[in-house]
Structures are given as C-alpha cells and as structure tokens.
C-alpha cells in the first residue's frame, strides 16, 4: 500500500479545511454503504427501494436478519477492554466522532459537522451534528461527549483510560499523587480533563501536545459518546441505570443498531435503529449466537445457520481459495469452495495490522542465542506450515500497511537489510555465532519456549516443532511449554520466561504504536534495558527523536520515519525478537447476502452495509 504514506503525510490542514463539506456530504457514505464500490452501489440503491415494499413479505422471509456466530458476549461498555464478540456488538451500538471510510484509513467526520484545530495543533473544536440521537431518544449534545470522556479517564470501570491519559496522544489533564502500598503513584485527578462543552453542540478539547494521528483517536471506540449520566460511576452523577445493566444488557449509543435482546453469554440480537444518523442499515436485525467450540462454529456454518462466518484454521484448505481481485488497501476478494456442504462461498481477506512474534527475555537469553535462532529460521515456513499460507512473514515490527513507504518499502528494506537471512534459513551462520560464543556439541545451550494453547494452538504447535528442530542443529535444546495466555503474560511480567509467543495489534496506523515496545525502558517485557548495548542506546535515541516530532508537519513525519527505521534496525541488531508473521483477517459469506469488504484491521467490523439478494 504505497499510497498510505503520502496520505499520511499530506498536511492535515488541507484535510481539515475540506472536512466541513465532507462532514455532511461524506456522512451518508461513510457508514459502509458504498464499501462494495464497483458492485455495491447498485445493490445499495435497489435495497433501499425494495426495503419499503418488502415489509409485507417480511414475515415469510423471516425479515432481513443477518446471523452470525460470535466467540463471546459479555461487556459492551466502550471503556472496557473487550474480546472480539463483545467488540463486534459494541461497534454496532456505538458511533464515534470520526470514522474510517471504507476506502482509506484516513478518518472522516461522523458525529461532527465541522471542526477546527488551533494554530498550535493542540486544541480541537468540534461542532456536533444536531440530528444525532441516542437509542433512548435523547439528542447527542456536547455534555454527552464531556461525560463520556471523563468516564473514560476517571471511572473505576474504565480499563482504557491510558488511551487519553498516557502516551503520544494525551488530552491535557492534571494528576494527583496517591500512595498505594507505600508507593507514590501519579493518578488522574477527576474532573481535570481538558474537554469542555462550549455550547450545546460545541466541544473543545486540548491535547497535552500536538499529535499527528489525533483524529484517529477521536475515531477510537472507547471515545464513543454515551448519554450523559447514564451510569453513576463518576463524580456528580447518580446514574440512570445500574452499571451492569448498561454494560451488559442495555448499552445505549448512537450506532446503527440498538440492543433488541441480550441473553448473557449466549445470544445478542440487535435491531436497526430507525433514527440512525447514517445510511439506514441493510439488515433489520443482527442475530449473534455465542459459539466457542471450533467444530461447532464450523458446523453452524456448514448447516447454513449463519450468513457470514469464519472457518477455523484447522478447517481451512488453502487450495480452495481463488482470489479474483485485490483492492486498494490490499484486501483480497474471491471465492472459497467447495465447502463440506457443497457450496462455494465468497471470501475476502484484509490486513489485520498486527505483528506476531516470539519475545526473548534479554536478561535470560543471551544475544548469541537470540541471533542464532533468528538465523536458523525462515519466517516463510511459519506462514506456510503454521498458518496455511494466510498472512505475511514478518521481518519488521511495523506491519507492511503502516511501514514508512508501505509494503514495497517494507519488502525492499527487509530484503536488503535483514541480517538473519531474508526468506531463508542460514544454519551455518547460526552455528558459527554459537561457536564464537563458546557453545558446541559438548556445551549446548538450553532455553524454554512457552506457547499459548488458547490461540491458534495447532499453528503454534507446528511452528514450535519447526523451531525446535532447527535449534537442535545449532546446539540449542529447546523445551516447549504450553500455557493459557493469561498465565504466559503473568509469568512474562514476573520475568520467568525465556522465550514466548506474543503479538500486538495496532490501534492507529503508525509504526509508533508497535515500536513503543522496541526500546529499553523499565517494564519492557523484552528487558532490553537489562542487556544494554550500542543498539539499545540507538533505539532509545531514535525513540526520543520520535517523541520530539509528534506534530503533523511533513518535516516531523520525515524525522519520525527515519527514526522508525533506525529502531527497526537496532532491534534486528540485538535480535530481541524472533518475528513471526503479520496475520490477515478473513471472512466467508454465502451468496444470498452481499457483504461489504472489510477494508483493514483499523476499521470497525460493521455489518450495517450488508444487503440481501
């Protein structure tokens, strides 16, 4: 995606100026109605036509209900950390101030009609649209936004507060010192968030410092507005309902769907909201059934109980895929089949903006061993043998879609500079690194690789076997341990693991969101600080450089990009990771529905643009 970069670098102001007009005009299209582009537009129109005349026959055809399997349904509160199923529900119930249009990862206005940014790039003033109502009938006002963001920062139920309180994007606020277990901690001072309702429909917020991807955060799910005072978990509000009712039974937002019914942990039914601020959703209802077992998920898909589905990796046969076209953001669109039930269905993939890797604890595994393991493997094999060819071998921390210069630059840089063999294993080098460090047949190194057994277990087992057999031949005895994810993360934080599986998905499209982990600092799981080197120093300096250049100008962008690449190279030099792959999202659907192609991992998963044939 070479176009990612220039777009990103385009002066924000140009975009901001046209945003006023885009605001209202663009809104109609931004909800996914025109996602299908070539084939979608016509359908969308006819759908709107038939929708009215179809009401009579609705009962016979069971309405336009889209059925899905989801992996979980527990808490839909925007300020809570959610698993995929709850996230899907939340995405449909809540709308954000900004959103990503189907064709790009450049945010456009959704709930705002106009906005301005101050000269210093720190103060954002949003004019809210006056025609937006919550599912409870109340109108969206500036106070709702203030309340929602204060909840995000101050509520005891909030798990996402650091998104606006820490890191590059920070809304200005004050902290107080609190003593917890004898330790002094800086915590958010309730009520101090720099977000203000200027009048009924104008919100003003001030950032701690200018941030190039600020609009992205205003499009981020946990900043979605909820009705003011809906729950009483911050000062000054009693709450209109109990927290558990809001979070799990009756979340109220401004999204395309409202809650029809929730059967906790079992089924969520959403109904199209007639008052929705965007284009009227295609399906009248979304029926989401919680299914966790992979066989059951597969069986439901085969029995045609669902319209859109995902095949478990273990059921995926790459030879059944045929890709017909590739879209602007690298989405692949085609068909898959025949399935076990004989049907051939539609299939699409997209970039998840995620990097999976194995982390070394540098304080436990010495550099020669880390380097040797990097030499010994070929990431291509991980994808081919582990993930059945779906995904791209990872060499950088930044996924190709956000790498400076896009996928082409990513591949070129890796091919020219990746020290440990680009798409090839270099066992001789691996052995000589080990021998130089004093290891040999009589003096073998031994480390433990910990795998999660609750995420892609079969793929990771195959990959672990692959690594073990390579390690064997370079004087490393690799022991494989399996544990659930939460055990792994806990042990990793306590510093008890040598090498383990982990990955990270990006929240906003900048390598920064990934590289923030690739530097020596206190609390880093890699523990690079405990094994200092020239490279770690360079990484730290490059990170400083990035922090000094967070503004929206071209020059700053360039400085950042340069520093990103320095960090990538420093990470390579010390081999603090064994990179694995960049996964791709996948989706299958039957012919009787027309499903907009999911553009990227940054976009909300929304099914309001689905139409029925």
């Amino acid at each position: 995606m070479p176009e990612t970069d220039p777009q990103d670098g385009a002066p924000r102001r140009t975009f901001l100026k046209i945003a006023g007009s885009v605001g209202t005009v663009g809104l109609a299209g931004c909800t996914g109605g025109d996602t299908g582009e070539a084939d979608g537009n016509g359908d969308t129109d006819t759908e709107t036509d038939t929708d009215g005349s179809e009401t009579n026959t609705e009962d016979e055809t069971a309405g336009n209900t889209l059925s899905l399997s989801i992996p979980d349904a527990s808490n839909f509160d925007p300020v809570q950390i959610k698993d995929d199923g709850s996230q899907l529900v939340s995405d449909h119930v809540f709308s954000e101030l900004f959103t990503l249009p189907a064709e790009s990862i450049e945010p456009t206005a959704q709930l705002v009609s106009d906005y301005t940014v101050s000269e210093d790039g720190q103060t954002y003033t949003f004019e809210l649209r006056e025609d937006v109502t919550f599912h409870n009938g109340e109108q969206l006002t500036a106070q709702d936004v203030v309340y929602s963001w204060e909840r995000l920062a101050a509520s005891e139920n909030s798990q996402e507060g650091e998104n606006i309180l820490e890191g590059g994007f920070q809304i200005a606020h004050e902290t107080t010192t609190e003593t917890v277990d004898g330790e002094e901690q800086e915590v958010y001072e309730p009520g101090s968030l720099a977000v203000e309702a200027i009048d009924e429909y104008t919100v003003e917020t001030t950032l701690e410092s200018p941030f190039f991807d600020a609009l992205f955060w205003f499009a981020y799910g946990s900043l979605s507005p909820v009705p003011e005072g809906i729950v009483g978990d911050i000062e000054g509000y009693d709450g209109e309902m109990e927290y558990s009712e809001f979070s799990s039974q009756n979340p109220i937002g401004t999204g395309p769907y409202r809650i029809e019914s929730v059967s906790t942990g079992t089924e969520v039914v959403l109904a199209a909201d007639e008052e929705y601020h965007g284009e009227q959703p295609g399906p009248d209802q979304l029926s989401m059934q919680v299914v966790t077992d992979t066989d059951a998920i597969h069986q439901r898909a085969m029995n045609r109980n669902v319209d859109v589905f995902q095949l478990p990796n273990s059921r995926f046969d790459p030879s059944k895929v045929s890709i017909d076209e590739t879209d602007d953001l690298g989405q692949e669109i085609g068909t898959y089949g025949p399935l076990d039930n004989g049907d051939t269905v539609n299939y699409s993939t997209w970039d998840e903006a995620y990097t999976a890797y194995f982390i070394f604890d540098c304080s436990r595994v010495e550099k020669p061993i880390r380097q040797a393991l990097n030499y010994a493997v070929n990431q291509e094999n991980f994808v081919e043998q582990g993930f059945r060819g779906v995904g791209e071998p990872a060499f950088h921390q930044a996924p190709p879609s956000v790498y400076p210069g896009g996928k082409e630059a990513y591949d070129r840089h890796a091919e020219e500079n990746f020290p440990y063999g680009y798409r090839e294993a270099q066992l001789d080098q691996a052995r000589s690194v080990m021998e130089d460090a004093g290891y040999g047949e009589d003096n073998r190194a031994s480390i433990t690789l910990s795998l999660y057994n609750d995420r892609n277990p079969d793929a990771y087992s195959r990959i672990a076997d692959l690594i073990r057999s390579k390690a064997q031949s370079i004087y490393i005895d690799l022991e494989i341990n399996r544990a659930p994810f939460n055990t792994i993360i806990d042990e990793a934080v306590s510093g008890n693991l040598d090498m383990y599986t982990l990955g990270n998905g990006l929240e906003y499209p900048s390598p920064m969101d990934m590289l923030k982990f690739g530097r020596p600092y206190d609390g880093n799981l890699v523990r690079w600080r405990e094994d200092p080197s020239d490279a770690s120093e360079r990484a730290a300096e490059a990170w400083e450089e990035i922090q000094d250049n967070l503004g929206p100008t071209d020059a700053e962008q360039e400085a950042r990009n340069e520093a990103f690449i320095q960090m990538e190279e420093a990470i390579w030099e010390d081999a603090i990771y064994l990179t694995n792959y960049h996964p791709r999202g996948r989706q299958w659907w039957y012919d009787h529905v027309d499903v907009p192609i999911q553009p990227s991992g940054f976009h909300d998963r929304l099914f309001d643009g689905v139409t029925f044939e």
Binding site: E162, S248, G265, Q289, P484, D490, N504
Partner: protein, 341 residues
C-alpha cells in the same frame, strides 16, 4: 436416632466438606499460576500490559495479603454475598449469571438423566428377566458398546450425522423435523409452558442430552440387569412364586423394588453430570450452560464467579447426597439411622 437428628448430623458433617471445597478453589486460583488481571488485559505487549496489570490488580484487590483476600472470600461466600464476575462478565452479579446459565444446564441434565432412566433401566430389566437369550445378548452388547463410546467423540459424530440427515426424518432432515431448530445453540427456555416452546426447547436439547446421558444409559442397563439377576435367584422369589403370586406382581413388587436399591446412588450420582460432565457437551453443542461458565471462570481465574459456582456445586452435591441417604430409607426399611453396635 430419628430422621431429623440424622439429618442435622449430616448437615453438620457437611460443613468441613464445603469448607475444603471452597478453600481448594481459592488456592487453585489465587496461589496457582492463574492471574485474573492478565486475563482481563488480553494479548497485548509490554508497557501497557504491565501498567494495565498493575492497575487492574489494584482494582481487584489482588495486591492485598493472601490471608486478607481469603478471609474476605470466605466471609462473602458464607453470607451469600457472591459478588461480581471479574473476568468473563465484568461487573455482572454472579447470582444473575447463575440464573441465566443455570436453567439451560438443568434442562440438559434433566433430559440426560431422564433418557437413561427410561431407556437404560427398562432394557436392563428386560435383559435380566430374559437372561442368556439372544435378546439379552443384543441388549447387553449394545449397552457395553454404548458405555464405551466417549462423550467427546460421540458428540462430534452425532453432530456430523445429524447435519447430514436431509433424507431422514421423513425427508425433512433433523433441523426441520417437527419444528425448526438449529443443531447447535442454546435452547430457548422462555416459552416452556407452551406446547411449541416445550417442543422446540426439548428438541434443541435432545442430541446433547443423548450424548451426555449415553454413558449412564450403558451403566444403568448393566446394573439393572445384574440387580434383577441377583434378586430373581433369591429364595423369597421362589417362595412368592410357590405361593402363587402372579408374574406381574412378582416382578413389580418383589423384583423391581429390591432391584432399585443399588440403582438409587447411580441415578443420584448422575446429577453430578450437571456439573462435571456437561462442560464438553455444552461446548460442542454451543449450549453455554453452567458447565462452560465454570470451566471458563476457572481457566481465566475469575475468582468470584468460579468460587461462587463451586460453592453452589458443593452445596448441591452435599444436599443430593443427604437426599439420597434419606431416599434409601424410604425404599428399604431395613436401612436405619442407628449406629451399629
């Protein structure tokens, strides 16, 4: 010793059992390698993970000394202040969850116990009364094979079979047979009192209940056969027959009633299937009952939820045990409460 005193004694004796059970749950979750905070954080890397971990641990009170946590936990349980889920359904009352998830598992368990009782036991009795005939062999072999098929395998096979039944069930296939249901999914228990609702809920649960009950069906068949065989060779049966008791009366009153005695603990112990055995079947059939809930709560370290469920399970088990002992005395007057001297 009268029945009431016996009951009271049993209740007092069950206190240590309950205490041991809930303590074990606490230890497994809090002293074992599970960290509920990590389960909440999810798969993210380093800095944020660590900060979030610290923050969430603080919120959940995981940094308090372990004995403080323990005392708090026990006091909450004893006062039936079962708290709110941490990880799986954050902020929701465990009691509410129990009410949501419980009925489905009870419905599943109900049929899983009923099917074997009405198929296994009659077949066993039939075998016992026709011992060493071809009919007996056929029934016995079926029972043994049935007993031998593991749940997880049977569940998957049954799913696959029922998905390919377009030509069976009078040409409708399983999903459209009688009423429209989906093979996988939780039964809707909200309309149980209407005929249609009852049929749908029952049909929805039958495949799962059949699998869950399959092992006990085999068990009950074998045991009732043996029990009948033993009784039928007793002298008093000969006597009864000699004095001219009719065959139906003989079987009904003398054989069956005595043969039931060893079967009672078998049937009551099947109630435990509700707890342990249902996890797998619930997962495969997408029923999302209490078994799955408990399993997920345990593996994600959701202490309030797992602890409360465990507490309820233990209470249930202990009361079923007591009920079973009382039931004995009703069926067999020879069993009393007095201690042997």
């Amino acid at each position: 010793m009268n029945r009431l005193a016996y009951l009271l004694r049993r209740i007092v004796l069950s206190i240590p059992v309950v205490w041991l059970g809930v303590t074990a749950t606490f230890l497994i979750i809090r002293v074992g390698p599970l960290n509920p905070a990590a389960a909440i954080v999810g798969p993210v890397n380093s800095a944020q993970a660590q900060e979030r971990l610290d923050q969430i641990e603080e919120q959940l009170g995981l940094n308090d000394p372990i004995h403080v946590q323990y005392v708090e936990y026990i006091v909450d349980l004893v006062t039936f202040n079962l708290g709110q889920s941490w990880v799986l359904y954050p902020g929701q009352d465990t009691v509410a969850l129990l009410v949501q998830f419980g009925p489905r598992t009870i419905w599943l368990g109900f049929w899983a116990v009923l099917i074997p009782i009405f198929i296994g036991i009659p077949l066993g009795i039939y075998s016992g009364l026709n011992v060493n005939t071809k009919r007996d062999y056929a029934a016995s072999i079926t029972g043994i094979v049935w007993r031998a098929m593991p749940n997880f395998w049977l569940a998957v096979i049954l799913l696959a079979l029922l998905s390919r039944t377009e030509t069976l069930f009078f040409g409708t296939g399983w999903e459209s047979f009688l009423v429209e249901t989906q093979l996988i999914g939780a039964p809707d228990l909200s309309n149980l009192w209407t005929i249609e609702g009852f049929t749908i809920a029952t049909k929805q649960i039958l495949p799962a209940a059949f699998v869950l009950g399959s092992a006990s069906m085999g068990n009950e068949l074998r045991l009732s056969r043996t029990a009948v065989l033993e009784i039928i060779t007793e002298d008093y049966i000969d006597t009864a027959r000699a004095v001219g008791v009719s065959r139906y009366r003989l079987i009904g009153k003398h054989v069956l009633r005595n043969a039931m005695i060893p079967l009672i603990p078998i049937i009551t112990s099947e109630a435990y299937l509700l707890v342990g055995g249902s996890v797998l079947v619930e997962v495969v059939f997408g029923i999302n009952g209490i078994g799955t809930l408990f399993f997920d709560a345990m593996t994600s370290g959701d202490l309030p939820l797992a602890g409360s469920l465990m507490f309820v399970f233990i209470l249930l088990t202990v009361s079923i045990n007591i009920a079973q002992d009382l039931l004995y005395t009703l069926i067999d007057p020879r069993i009393g409460y007095a201690e042997h001297r």
